[in-house]
């Protein structure tokens, strides 16, 4: 837990005064880091803060255009300015890297086992057979089932989680002193993320290496890191042991970052106003000053150095004041009060906005190019039930491939579903006329995940926002009046209408997407992962905006997300999907406090909590393997292959699970309420 002491042994990786420039634009502006054996250092920051550049600089992997100054010493060898031959000798042996995207990090044309064996043979003088054997051992160590057989597979035959395991195996092949992991789990689902983090932990323990974990996910950092360094605008602004940093941050940026993460118990989020500065145009003084509510003239004149006791250093002139007054994020940042609880109408009396029963959608698997022959079906959605009442938010949760997006598109198509029933605002979609469909399109709108992809790059914002109005046949005058109104509603300025999407930051783009969806005054807003492409501090602003809009306009939301803490924060009810089926649904508090389906339990326990103490003490349900393919439709429960409950059942009960399809609010034959130290 506690960092090993400074004088005990020399650092295995020592970065001092690291500066990196790309074409004259600074990316890293003076970073000092030291890693000692067996230590895990978490490097946190939002996109563009320079955290990945630090990791790449430490490996000597920056492109030639980068200008690097300062010193990076690995076990006494200086890396900056070292030749290619020198670096190749160190890379892989003394220090190894695990990349974010395991698919592009493995060569697609070589077998996984051979690639690991190659890593072994590059640095050790061993024979081919021995190296192969070592590769199999390593694959076994990182938890790949049947490693002998799987080592002969190609990367595309591995799932994302398995590929990342293989990358870790390759990284530890030569017992490195330092492992650099750059967002190692960002591309993975939560349950798989939990597995991979566990493997990373094992790997680090087995090799005794130091681990530099770069991540934007404060939950992951809380669970893994001994010490945490927070980066902002190319500099470290705060560094402290993990428990202390999470419990008592001293720098306003860290406070905002921590306050912006939704977590159980806190109903208010503190978004950090503004966007990270462009590093070319840094203001004089503290880089965070323009966004900092505590900033005064001293902050704006000179950039503060990282100072304070060795254990807890901050680059902020306000740090002593914050420490003395014991300020919390909610004291520093302005928060809007959550709206008073409305007069509670019993749920049953509210009119239904959306009702979905037994929705099914299959895609044909075709063979042959021109005249495809159907050889099978992908059961993307296979029995989904949803129910949203007026003014309600339903969180739809599931891992990738669980059929969330297909469900949304099936609903929004407003056509007769393959099977089951969809009822929007009391109209069955199977019985709609063309005219009714057109009218209903105005009442149901969607906000997409990626705010850049969902806005036409060639249209000015004003036209983007006006599009649904025009589609509904609004006249010119009404459209012109409505645009500034809408932009102001989502916290933008009316003058922004003439600009193009690329001139906005990610959060602002998402606001434009929301403004477009609100243009025709819909009753139901479908939000498809609306915040997962955004940084935490910006995400909080969007969540607050959605909450306010819902209260003001009486909207109902269908909020799809893989991020359970976000769902818990914003939703009233939650519905969990697995393999195209709804496995559990109910009120948010109920489901999160007492999940009854084993999958929900595993999902909840896999979500990292940004609180080191809670994160390390809670019990986990680790699921084995990956979600099965949707091509093979399970006769009974789809979860049997990974179910921890099923594993402990007798033969008779097992037959029931495998053969009979569970139904009801909790789609499980053996639901076990289990209190959870919830996510």
């Amino acid at each position: 837990m506690t960092a090993p002491h400074a004088d005990a042994d020399p650092p295995v990786l020592d970065i001092t005064g690291l500066h990196v420039d790309f074409d004259g634009a600074p990316a890293v502006r003076g970073v000092d880091l030291a890693l000692r054996r067996g230590e895990v250092l978490g490097l946190v920051g939002e996109s563009g803060s320079g955290k990945s550049t630090v990791a790449l600089a430490a490996m000597g992997l920056l492109p030639r255009t980068a200008r690097v100054r300062g010193s990076v010493r690995a076990g006494g060898t200086e890396l900056i300015g070292a030749g290619d031959r020198e670096l190749s000798r160190l890379r892989g042996r003394r220090m190894a890297m695990v990349f974010q995207d395991p698919l592009s990090a493995l060569t697609p044309v070589h077998r996984v086992g051979d690639q690991i064996a190659e890593a072994v043979r590059t640095h050790q003088d061993v024979g081919r057979v021995h190296a192969r054997r070592r590769a199999v051992e390593l694959l076994d160590l990182v938890g790949i089932p049947d490693p002998e057989h799987r080592s002969r597979a190609y990367p595309h035959e591995f799932s994302g989680g398995m590929r990342q395991r293989a990358m870790i195996a390759m990284a530890i092949a030569n017992d490195p002193d330092v492992i650099l992991a750059d967002e190692p789990t960002t591309a993975l689902d939560v349950t798989v993320q939990a597995q991979v983090l566990e493997v990373l932990r094992t790997a680090q323990r087995e090799t005794g290496a130091a681990l530099l974990l770069v991540s934007h996910d404060l939950g992951v950092i809380a669970g893994m890191a001994d010490r945490v360094a927070v980066m902002y605008a190319g500099r470290i602004v705060e560094s402290a042991p993990a428990p202390e940093l999470f419990a008592a941050p001293r720098m306003p940026y860290t406070m905002g970052l921590l306050g912006a993460v939704p977590r159980p118990g806190s109903r208010v989020l503190t978004p950090v106003p503004g966007a990270p500065p462009e590093l070319r145009l840094l203001p004089r003084g503290c880089a965070f000053a323009p966004r900092c509510p505590l900033a005064d003239d001293t902050c704006r004149t000179a950039e503060p150095e990282l100072a304070g006791p060795e254990e807890h250093r901050t680059a902020c002139v306000k740090a002593p004041e914050i420490a003395a007054r014991d300020l919390a994020a909610t004291d520093v940042y302005p928060v809007d009060e959550p709206a008073p609880v409305r007069a509670v109408t019993p749920r049953g009396e509210l009119p239904a906005v959306l009702r979905v029963e037994g929705l099914t959608k299959t895609f044909p698997l075709l063979k042959g190019a021109a005249f495809g022959r159907r050889v099978g079906s992908v059961h993307a959605v296979d029995g989904v039930d949803l129910d949203i009442r007026r003014g309600e938010t339903l969180g739809l949760v599931g891992e990738s491939g669980s059929g969330k997006s297909t469900t949304l598109l099936e609903i929004l198509r407003l056509a007769a579903p393959e099977a089951g029933e969809v009822e929007v605002l009391g109209h069955r979609t199977s019985e709609l006329t063309k005219r009714q469909i057109k009218a209903l399109r105005g009442s149901v709108q969607i906000v997409f995940q990626d705010p850049m992809a969902s806005l036409d790059p060639r249209q000015p914002v004003g036209e983007i926002v006006a599009e649904p109005l025009r589609a509904q046949g609004a006249d010119r005058g009404a459209v012109a009046r409505r645009i500034p109104e809408l932009l102001r509603l989502v916290g933008l300025e009316a003058a922004h209408a003439a600009r193009f999407p690329h001139e906005f930051s990610g959060g602002q783009r998402q606001r434009i997407g929301i403004a477009r969806a609100l243009a025709v005054e819909p009753r139901l807003l479908v939000l498809d992962e609306p915040v997962s492409a955004l940084d935490v501090s910006v995400q909080a602003g969007i969540l607050n905006l959605l909450r306010r809009l819902k209260d003001e306009l009486g909207l109902a939301y269908l909020f799809v997300s893989h991020d359970l803490s976000v769902v818990r924060h914003i939703a009233d009810r939650v519905s969990v999907m697995y393999l195209g089926r709804t496995v559990e649904s109910g009120a948010v508090e109920e489901v999160f406090a007492r999940p009854r389906h084993p999958y929900t339990q595993a999902l909840l326990s896999a979500v990292p909590v940004p609180d080191p103490v809670a994160e390390r003490s809670r019990s986990r349900v680790l699921l084995a393997g990956d979600p099965p393919s949707a091509v093979l439709r399970a006769e009974g429960c789809g979860f049997v292959g990974r179910c921890p409950v099923y594993a402990g059942l007798g033969a008779g009960d097992r037959a029931r699970c495998a053969g009979e399809r569970p139904v009801g609010e909790v789609a499980c034959h053996f639901p076990q309420p289990r209190p959870f130290p919830a996510a």
Binding site: L281, Q445, D450, R458, Q472, A480, P484, Q508
Partner: protein
């Protein structure tokens, strides 16, 4: 910047009229030097081609038997050719033909290609299969032969029919590219968003798909202008297309190329104007592309300029 939780009560004093895409594009077009130079050069070429012949009393068919292969002089401004025709009159007449043929063929072919390609890519299914089949069919036709066979029969309808023929055989590859670009655009969220809002498919094609492939279309069209002039030359050389006594830049260049070293005026005036023409179209296309693509060129330049001023301020 404006990530406030509540909308600012103090709204902007007066909301400026939201500018439409066309107006924005026009403004950007006017601001780009390339575009203005290209457009001006093209305009001057048109003026020269259609106004220039009135400045001399020679017409392109007149033959001055007293001046064969004469160098430029006061009577024959750009000299004469080997049978005593005035090169100035001939080149300008040829320029008329080449300007019209080049621009019209490029325009027709690009419009046809973009509409057909975008429809095939967007609607998919049987529309796509039929259109692709038809395109492939046209591609395997020997276009040169067919034009050679058909054009003598269309002699009476004149050069417009010739333009049509060149366009009909020049759009297929562009259409295939547009089709595949459309297929990838169709998967983008903004197209899906428009579909879910109930926007009419043709409207989606014209408002979302085509503007997003416009960069390609413009580059392709500028190349097609040069290509059309060249294929017209080739056909005319073999006796199809523009026939004597009518002339085009292509036929003039073909005639004069043998004399380029000995009697340069027979070749270089025609060739020079062709180069100017193609260059002007390229400049215009560049400017048009920048004007229609909000993320291109200018923006980057502006940012760099901002960066340098900041650096200066910092020092």
């Amino acid at each position: 910047m404006t990530i406030t939780a509540t909308p600012p009560e103090t709204a902007a004093p007066e909301a400026p009229e939201p500018t439409g895409r066309t107006r924005v594009a026009l403004r950007r077009f006017a601001a780009s030097t390339n575009a203005v130079v290209g457009a001006a050069a093209l305009l001057l070429l048109f003026l020269l081609a259609f106004g220039g012949p009135y400045l001399t009393h020679w017409s392109h068919t007149d033959i001055d038997y007293s001046a064969l292969r004469q160098a430029p002089s006061a009577t024959h401004w750009w000299g004469t050719n080997r049978i005593g025709q005035d090169v100035y009159a001939q080149v300008l007449h040829g320029l008329q033909k080449s300007l019209l043929i080049g621009l019209l063929v490029a325009l027709f072919a690009t419009v046809l290609a973009s509409v057909v390609g975008a429809c095939a890519g967007y609607f998919g299914g049987w529309t796509d299969r039929l259109v692709t089949f038809f395109i492939d069919l046209l591609l395997v036709f020997p276009a040169f032969l067919i034009i050679a066979i058909v054009s003598p029969r269309l002699r009476d309808t004149g050069w417009l029919a010739f333009v049509g023929l060149l366009a009909v055989f020049g759009w297929m590859i562009t259409a295939r590219v547009v089709r595949s670009m459309t297929r990838s655009l169709k998967e983008r969220d903004f197209v899906r968003a428009a579909e879910l809002m109930g926007v009419h498919p043709l409207r989606i094609i014209f408002r979302h798909i085509l503007p997003n492939v416009s960069s390609f279309l413009i580059v392709d069209a500028t190349i097609a202008v040069g290509g059309a002039v060249m294929s017209e030359t080739g056909l005319s050389y073999f006796g199809f297309g523009v026939q004597p006594p009518d002339v085009s830049l292509g036929t003039l260049i073909a005639d004069g190329s043998g004399a380029a070293v000995t009697y340069p005026w027979m070749f270089f005036f025609a060739a020079g104007l062709l180069v100017v023409f193609v260059l002007a179209v390229n400049f215009l296309g560049d400017g048009l592309r920048d004007a229609l693509d909000p993320t291109s060129g200018q923006h980057r330049r502006r940012r760099r300029r901002k960066g340098t001023t900041h650096d200066r301020a910092a020092r």
